[in-house]
């Protein structure tokens, strides 16, 4: 059984500007950090809480004691203001940010799909980029080989697949990126906004492929501001506010609470 279990996780970002990140800061200029707190009361809803962490350093509390469980079949939509911790939570689930306190365990392989074009090289051909993306998504050589026809079929790029992708239009590029990324079968899929393949003529087929892709997925966690999209794909909702989990449960209920919060 696939699952994600988070127990009181905290994620805090130390803030280094170019000055703080250099060695001379470490050797005695640490006092500059004090006094940052005076801005705190002005930002009521946006962003994590700003505080002073260990060693007097300014930290942003991106996640502040978040606890939840997700199980196979869950389709969870994350809701909240900009900077409420949605993306950070997605990255914590993916294991990119390991919490400073608390624990998070995912049973099953987590696939984050944040930037579909990560690793793509404009001067490389479509085929070469399929290999690059496939490898980054953790596919084996045989799996990539097997998906080549499927991707070629779906994208209808034909002989363009042998051309450097800088010759592609934006739509063609998106199509390619979308096709490769949806060729996998993720156990746990983590998305920051819904993925898509752009141009209008293509949308019906892309939707079909997306539906199939998400149906193969064991657990889906997606952050989005689009309520209709969440209603279409999710069965649960989670509301975050300044790094804290406010509510987690049936989607309709969470959307209701979110609207109340935004309405304020």
């Amino acid at each position: 059984m696939l699952s994600i279990i988070a127990n009181d996780i905290h994620v805090e970002f130390p803030i280094y500007d170019h000055r703080m990140r250099s060695l001379k800061y470490t050797f005695g200029l640490g006092q500059l950090a004090k006094g940052f707190n005076r801005f705190a009361p002005r930002s009521l809803n946006v962003g994590g809480q700003i505080g002073v962490g260990e060693a007097g350093r300014v930290v942003i509390k991106a996640l502040d004691g978040v606890t939840f469980e997700m199980h196979e079949g869950d389709r969870v939509g994350l809701l909240g203001h900009n900077g409420s911790g949605k993306t950070t939570l997605l990255r914590a689930i993916a294991g990119i940010y390991e919490p400073v306190r608390g624990s998070i365990h995912a049973r099953g392989r987590v696939v984050p799909l944040f930037d579909l074009q990560l690793g793509m090289d404009l001067d490389a051909t479509g085929i070469e980029n399929i290999w690059m993306r496939g490898k980054l998504l953790g596919l084996s050589t045989q799996q990539i080989q097997a998906s080549l026809d499927d991707v070629a079929d779906f994208t209808e790029l034909g002989e363009y697949l042998e051309m450097p992708i800088r010759t592609y239009s934006m739509g063609m590029m998106l199509r390619l990126a979308f096709a490769i990324s949806t060729a996998i079968t993720p156990e746990i899929l983590v998305l920051d906004e819904m993925i898509g393949a752009g141009d209008a003529a293509f949308i019906a087929r892309a939707d079909l492929r997306l539906k199939d892709f998400l149906a193969r997925t064991g657990i889906l966690v997606i952050a989005s501001h689009s309520i209709p999209m969440l209603r279409q794909w999710c069965n649960k909702g989670m509301l975050l506010e300044r790094g804290k989990l406010i509510a987690y449960g049936a989607l309709d209920e969470i959307i209701g609470r979110h609207e109340k919060l935004v309405g304020q």
Binding site: F13, P14, Y16, H18, R21, S22, L23, T26, R91, A94, G95, I96, Y97, E98, V110, P112, F114, D115, L118, G119, D121, D123, A124, W131, M132, K135, L136, T141
Partner: protein, 267 residues
């Protein structure tokens, strides 16, 4: 500051293990790097070989002239030495930039950090493999026959790369946090070039011979260069590089275990 839990140690071991197991991925990424660098150029990666060849021709002749050693002695010596010097400095400099240049990957996909270290090692081994051609041409035209010590040569190469791996990893972690470090390292290596017997022979240092004897890089280079030139590395060379690898990796591992999880936060 340096409390280390068994959880951190296990996570670091997992990272190293997973990184080594996915050697195909790092090899693939490294080869893509090289292809990308020379894309749309007619000669492609052959440029690596060519530019190294041109540099060696100049440096070999200049060294023979400056330090009045016969050209048939200085040319292969400089060529083999510089081949290794480029390998060493490039691995360490790439190490310093390691997590900074791959930050987009590190913050977007979950991948063992060791994969990127391996990518640096592969990439530079590929480059060195291109440069080796020049040495082979020089050696063949001067009929240099390697001695029996060439049998141990693969072990020497492996040991030096293992040693460079920890140096790259430790600089990578420190550089992710302190962005002055890559520039500092570059400067230190530039100075070290003059203190390492590469374009002159250690004997030519005369009473300042200790400069070479206490230079760890000189021993790493000797370990690989001497067998190629038909000479034998000293037991001292072996022991020093072996000790550096063992002590270096122990320290680096503990350091990596302590800060591994923080790296994504620093980027």
């Amino acid at each position: 500051m340096f409390a280390l839990s068994s959880r951190q140690v296990n996570a670091a071991l997992d990272d190293l293990g997973a990184g080594l197991r996915s050697w195909r991925l790092s090899q693939f990424l490294a080869w893509q790097d090289i292809k990308q660098r020379y894309r749309r150029s007619t000669l492609g990666p052959i440029w690596l070989t060519l530019s190294f060849g041109i540099q060696m021709l100049t440096m070999g002749i200049l060294s023979s002239f400056l330090f009045s050693s016969p050209i048939e002695k200085s040319m292969p010596y400089v060529c083999a030495g510089m081949l290794l010097w480029f390998l060493i400095t490039q691995i360490i400099n790439d190490g310093a930039a390691l997590f900074i240049t791959t930050s987009r990957y590190i913050t977007q996909i979950k991948c063992p950090l060791t994969v990127f270290l391996m990518q640096v090692l592969w990439r530079n081994v590929f480059v060195a493999a291109h440069n080796v051609t020049i040495y082979l041409i020089v050696a063949a035209s001067l009929v240099i026959i390697p001695g029996p010590s060439i049998l141990l040569w693969p072990f020497g190469v492996a040991l030096v790369i293992i040693c460079l791996a920890w140096m790259a990893l430790v600089t990578a972690v420190v550089s992710a946090r302190y962005r002055d470090v890559p520039v500092m390292i570059q400067n230190v290596l530039n100075i070290l070039f003059w203190f390492t017997p590469l374009i002159y022979f250690p004997e030519q240092l005369g009473s300042k011979r200790f400069l070479a004897d206490y230079n760890p890089f000189a021993h790493m280079i000797a370990l690989i260069r001497e067998p190629l030139l038909g000479a034998t590395p000293t037991l001292n060379d072996w022991l020093i590089v072996l000790a550096m690898s063992l002590i270096g990796w122990t320290g680096t591992f503990l350091f990596f275990a302590r800060f591994r999880a923080r790296i994504a936060y620093w980027l």
